[in-house]
Amino acid sequence: MTKLWLVVERDVRMFLRYRFILIMRAMWFAVQISLFGLVVSSMIKAEVHNIVGSYFNYYAAGVGIMMLYSTAMFIGYDIFEEAEHGIIEYLLSLPISRKELVLGRAIGGGIRSFVYIGPMLAIVLFMIGVIHPLNFLVAFASLFLFAFGVSGFSITLASAIKSHDKYDIFMGMFNAFVVRLSTAMYPKAFMPDLYANLAQLNPITFASDIFRWGAGLESVLTTSPFIAVIGLFVFFFTFTFLGVTIYERRIEGGGWE
């Protein structure tokens, strides 16, 4: 357990070195809320407000989840950085099992995302207000599962691809679609059928919907909280343990590009 914690602590510390990236992301958050969210809300038809309540609140909650997703994804880039500088070999030489290493990294990736986006989520919650504290606690715990799952997914992909360029390109293309094909930015009711069907299976949809439910925006709920929690648990379980298996098999023998 101590070893696992050491891995988690190391990843959290490493994250704080990326101060320029952290500043940039914080600025992106501010711009999304104060410019894009505000102006787009003013353009929205009354019909939408009838369904989602305040679209601004709806969007602000979605931006929080997008931030959590992109921050948790970042751990994959750390792995390539380590491969480039030969640190993976050093990590392998430590008296820590492969399982502890990858589990620690998935948890560390999730925790550091929370540490970073905590103040931003607090701002979003301040704007929306929390009506049911108990619901919020359930939602908050589910978001941890989401963050760990995203980190596990990122580690799984990085270990499977083993090429920084290919990973970077794949993630760029993947993120472009996965975020837009979710309920983070808009409700399912306004998506064409194909997009709505895809959004229904998207973990970002589960996370966005459970966060809104926790914050008391029930009127916009498109996924039942029970389904969302189950979906996030399956996502977390799949990618954390798939990540462990793939990372264990692929980490040795070099071949990192």
Partner: protein
């Protein structure tokens, strides 16, 4: 003139090295257009898809024209700029070639998206087409000049990336790329609304809209004003950026 052509060739070859990065950028632009804009169209009272299509062309042009700065910043960090200065190329040819290359790369990259916009909104008359391409060229060279000036002014890649981020966010989101000027004027404070009105990306997107379809706003500046804004942006940053580039390189 021959030297400028060499520099153009050099920068276009560099651009082609980023083919996967370009593919990634295109997929993001397409996702914005064919997913985000399609959904938002159902949520607003006007055809957002048609409205946004010129916007995405302009953002793509800006992002690709700005890429020259990434290379120039690398050259400054690795002292490669000394090699460039030692070549039998005049200083003005060097800056003109680099700025022109940055602008032309922007045009080249955004052209498929511009054609997509035409396919969706209708093809313009030949003189309108030339006006659009000319306006986009002004925007692209101004952007390249701005990018070069920022890139040459710092040896730190992080600082360059942060400055680029601030510019991107302000120019993209405080413009009429994503939303009509009416909406901006009704919500944002006066200084930000003024910034959006003078923003070159607004001018580029609005100019394409004005020529391709009846743009749904009562506050749209005239074609003359849009062109004037683009010309002013291009003149200031093409010449200002080029001057700063050469002065900074010689000083380092």
């Amino acid at each position: 003139m021959k030297n400028i052509l060499f520099l153009l060739e050099y920068d276009f070859k560099n651009f082609m090295r980023y083919k996967w990065w370009i593919a990634m950028l295109i997929s993001m632009n397409l996702a914005d257009l064919f997913v985000m804009a399609l959904v938002v169209t159902r949520m607003v009272s006007f055809d957002y898809f048609r409205f946004f299509s010129p916007g995405v062309t302009v953002t793509a042009l800006f992002a690709s024209a700005f890429m020259i700065g990434r290379e120039i910043n690398w050259e400054v960090r690795r002292s490669f700029a000394h090699y460039l200065l030692s070549l039998p190329i005049k200083r003005w040819e060097l800056v003109a070639g680099r700025t022109l290359a940055g602008g032309l790369r922007g045009i080249l990259y955004s052209f498929p998206l511009l054609l997509t916009t035409f396919a969706l909104l209708g093809f313009p008359a030949p003189h309108e087409f030339l006006l659009i391409v000319g306006a986009l060229f002004l925007l692209a060279t101004g952007t390249a000049g701005l990018s070069i000036a920022i890139a040459a002014s710092t040896r730190s890649f992080e600082k360059f990336v942060t400055a680029r981020g601030v510019l991107y966010y302000m120019l993209f989101f405080c413009s009429t790329v994503f939303y009509p000027l009416d909406s901006i004027l009704s919500v944002l404070p006066q200084p930000l609304a003024l910034f959006a009105q003078l923003n070159p990306l607004s001018a580029g997107a609005d100019l394409i809209r004005a020529l391709l379809f009846a743009y749904p706003t009562s506050t749209l500046p005239s074609l003359f004003e849009l062109l004037r804004n683009l010309l002013a942006f291009s003149a200031v940053f093409t010449f200002g950026g080029s001057f700063a580039y050469i002065k900074i390189l010689e000083a380092k």
